[in-house]
């Protein structure tokens, strides 16, 4: 597998007097979480293979403020938002793509009121567009014929009404697509949203990700596809908890496409 990625920062392009077509917002998980970094790399491989002219903010990117806002700290959220907006507006950013539904929601819906107006796409939507424009061909490869379900992230599905883009991509894998018992608007949360990712769950009878994993196990899948780095963490933990590591894999949409295409 080729491991050199072709990634420019906004600053580098600016120095050359260039502007990218789209800003890839990597997000904190995508930048720092070991598992999520694989998703980031897979997505960049696809962008490189298609020849998308993109850039990242690199060290100029800072948390969108989503977890602070959901944890009730509106001050910190707005401080983060204003900082990021200043940076992005200085680069005259018009279009953003991100692999994290939480960043996606915040950038798309909550930044405009603070002076940051951008066209924001989740990577599933961006990839769907590339596919429809004929630029991206999804091969499927090793995933052909595998039994796959998509676990809807709350902030993409219920939160922003996007259920179709991820499914449109998965269909191209030539896999056996099945729906989980609770899906789309009735999809069950993985348990990480609302800043839960960063704390122990409150006392209860069960962890939310285990409850969700039971839906997944019931569907007897080979692969559960996710579209969010936090869902990735929760589902991966769930698989471990159910001791299904051998037979059940968790992949992000970008990974399925990149690996299926042999990237």
């Amino acid at each position: 597998m080729s491991s050199t990625l072709n990634v420019n920062t906004m600053a580098e392009l600016m120095a050359k007097g260039e502007k990218p077509e789209v800003l890839f917002w990597v997000g904190c998980a995508g930048s720092f979480d070991d598992r999520a970094k694989k998703i980031t790399r897979a997505f960049v491989k696809i962008l490189n293979s298609v020849g998308v002219n993109f850039a990242i903010l690199g060290t100029e990117e800072s948390c969108t403020g989503d977890p602070a806002k959901r944890a009730g700290n509106e001050f910190l959220f707005q401080m983060q938002a204003m900082t990021n907006i200043q940076v992005m507006n200085a680069y005259e950013v018009k279009k953003i793509v991100t692999t994290c539904p939480h960043c996606f929601n915040t950038l798309k819906n909550e930044y405009p009121g603070l002076g940051g107006d951008y066209e924001v796409l989740h990577h599933s939507q961006f990839l769907q567009k590339l596919m429809e424009e004929g630029k991206l061909k999804i091969e499927g490869g090793e995933f052909k014929g595998k039994k796959i379900s998509f676990h809807d992230p709350c902030y993409l599905g219920r939160g922003n009404g996007e259920y179709e883009a991820p499914r449109a991509l998965l269909e191209q894998l030539d896999a056996e697509l099945v729906e989980l018992k609770r899906c789309k608007s009735k999809g069950l949360c993985c348990g990480a949203g609302g800043a839960q990712m960063f704390k122990e769950a409150e006392p209860g009878a069960k962890e939310v990700n285990i409850e969700r994993m039971e839906d997944v196990v019931e569907a007897s899948l080979n692969i559960v596809a996710v579209g969010c780095p936090f869902c990735m963490t929760m589902m991966t933990d769930g698989v471990k908890n159910k001791e299904k590591e051998e037979t059940l894999k968790v992949y992000d949409l970008a990974e399925l496409i990149a690996e299926g295409n042999g990237l």
């Binding site: 597998m1 491991s3 990625l5 990634v7 990597v26 904190c28 930048s31 720092f32 790399r41 960049v44 990242i56 690199g58 060290t59 800072s62 948390c63 403020g65 977890p67 602070a68 806002k69 959901r70 944890a71 009730g72 700290n73 509106e74 001050f75 910190l76 707005q78 401080m79 983060q80 929601n105 798309k108 819906n109 909550e110 603070l114 709350c154 219920r158 939160g159 922003n160 608007s185 009735k186 069950l188 949360c189 990480a192 949203g193 609302g194 800043a195 839960q196 960063f198 704390k199 122990e200 769950a201 409150e202 006392p203 209860g204 009878a205 069960k206 962890e207 939310v208 285990i210 409850e211």
Partner: protein
């Protein structure tokens, strides 16, 4: 005008007076909430209300209870045409006053009312059995113990009796019509109550007149009493469901409002010149500690909530045994609002009892169990938003009282220090490019 008419007028006027008084108290309570301008997108709001509230599009997600609910709802509205006739008859001493002007249509209407009444009766019996004899988890959760359960049962039982009285009244009327008793004009068709006729055939006309009058009075007094029961009951949703849906959020569910009060301060931090020369008005409290810190829409929603528990049934926290139940959030809000309202009635408008919604009704543990997943909002048949109340209370906890779980405090510090919720240096942000 006979004594009966005078009695009726007195009862009717008293019921209307009492109801308007209760209604005023509720409107006053709702107005204790903060202002919020929701005057945008009128057309879209009307469409949504017609679809979701009148059309009950979200009720049928559960086909059986949804369909039965539509029957009871349609029955309730349509049978009210009959109530109008009863009121006119009651005031003027007429009998079946609509019969002559409506002619054949009247027969059709009465016939349809009877069929609806039977359907409503059956639906209410089934609802009663579902609630009491079956184990449907959402009806058994702990916030439903005691009064909420009784309330639900009272409503169902009253409906059954009202419909029963209506049918029995029609049965008696038919017999009297057939016997040509004076005052009982021949009118109406009785597809259901005809089956009750044989029970009465051997009774004397005097006794049947008594039965007819008794059921007539029972029916209308029952309805007037029910009207005045509404303000104390979850059944108030039959009125407020409509404005609640009309004013519900149209934006993407995951979009949370940017707090205006915070925005002002953050703007000043970024641009000190933006600071106003003088502070404008009293300092706003951040978030919601008590009901008066919530906005009027959130308070109105607490009165619209019909305690169906569809929200809690879908809530990941409730499902996994956490303390949080979004339905309880709505119920607590209403209970606390009622308490504040009563306190103000008794002790004047500056009354304070030292209690608050946050703390005395809703605990921190409940608030921190929420994943902000929006399942509750999506599940609610009338688009109520328990999540917005949860979020406003979290804001109060964190920004007013600095109460936050320690791991979250760590996460906040990390964002402040290094722009990420974890302890990684900002300079390492792009390291992934060269790692495999």
């Amino acid at each position: 005008m006979g004594l009966e008419n005078i009695l009726f007028i007195v009862a009717f006027a008293a019921a209307v007076f009492l109801f308007s008084k209760n209604l005023k108290a509720i409107i006053r309570n709702i107005n204790l909430g903060k202002d919020l301008d929701i005057s945008d997108n009128k057309l879209e709001r009307w469409k949504k209300m017609i679809l979701v509230a009148i059309g009950q599009s979200k009720m049928v997600v559960k086909p059986v209870s949804g369909l039965m609910h539509i029957i009871v709802y349609a029955g309730f509205i349509i049978i009210n045409i009959e109530v109008l006739e009863i009121i006119i008859d009651g005031i003027f001493g007429t009998h079946r006053v609509f019969a002559a002007p409506l002619g054949g249509l009247y027969d059709f209407l009465i016939g349809s009312f009877e069929i609806l009444a039977l359907l409503v009766l059956v639906a209410c019996v089934v609802f009663f059995i579902r609630r009491n004899a079956m184990t449907i988890k959402r009806f058994k959760m702990k916030e439903m113990l005691g009064w909420p359960k009784t309330d639900a049962n009272i409503i169902l039982i009253v409906e059954v009796f009202l419909m029963g009285a209506f049918l029995k009244m029609n049965a008696a009327d038919q017999v009297l019509q057939a016997r040509g008793v004076e005052h009982y004009v021949v009118a109406g068709s009785y597809p259901v109550s005809q089956f009750l006729v044989p029970i009465m055939e051997n009774f004397s006309s005097g006794y049947i007149i008594f039965l007819e009058r008794a059921t007539w009075w029972f029916h209308i007094l029952g309805i007037l009493t029910f009207l005045n029961y509404l303000p104390y009951s979850k059944h108030f949703h039959i009125m407020l469901a409509f404005p609640s849906v009309f004013y519900s959020k149209l934006k993407p569910r995951a979009e949370f409002d940017n707090m205006h009060s915070v925005k002002k301060e953050v703007e000043i931090m970024f641009d000190p010149d933006a600071a106003p020369a003088q502070s404008e008005g009293p300092v706003e409290r951040f978030g919601a500690k008590d009901v008066a810190d919530l906005n009027w829409k959130q308070l109105m929603d607490s009165y619209s909530c019909t305690e169906c528990g569809r929200c809690s049934e879908q809530c990941p926290a409730s499902q996994t045994g956490k303390l949080l139940s979004p339905r309880k959030i709505m119920m607590d809000t209403r209970d606390r609002l009622e308490e504040v309202g009563k306190g103000k009635d008794k002790n004047g408008k500056d009354f304070s009892d030292g209690k608050s919604l946050l703390g005395d009704y809703i605990s921190e543990e409940e608030l921190w169990a929420c994943t902000t997943c929006n399942a509750c909002v999506d599940a609610c048949p009338i688009e109520l938003n328990p999540l917005s109340i949860i979020m406003d209370m979290r804001r109060s906890l964190v920004m007013e009282e600095s109460k936050i779980p320690s791991e979250l405090a760590g996460m906040i510090t990390n964002i402040e220090n290094n722009g990420a919720p974890w302890q990684f240096s900002q300079t390492d942000r792009a390291n992934w490019i060269n790692e495999e």
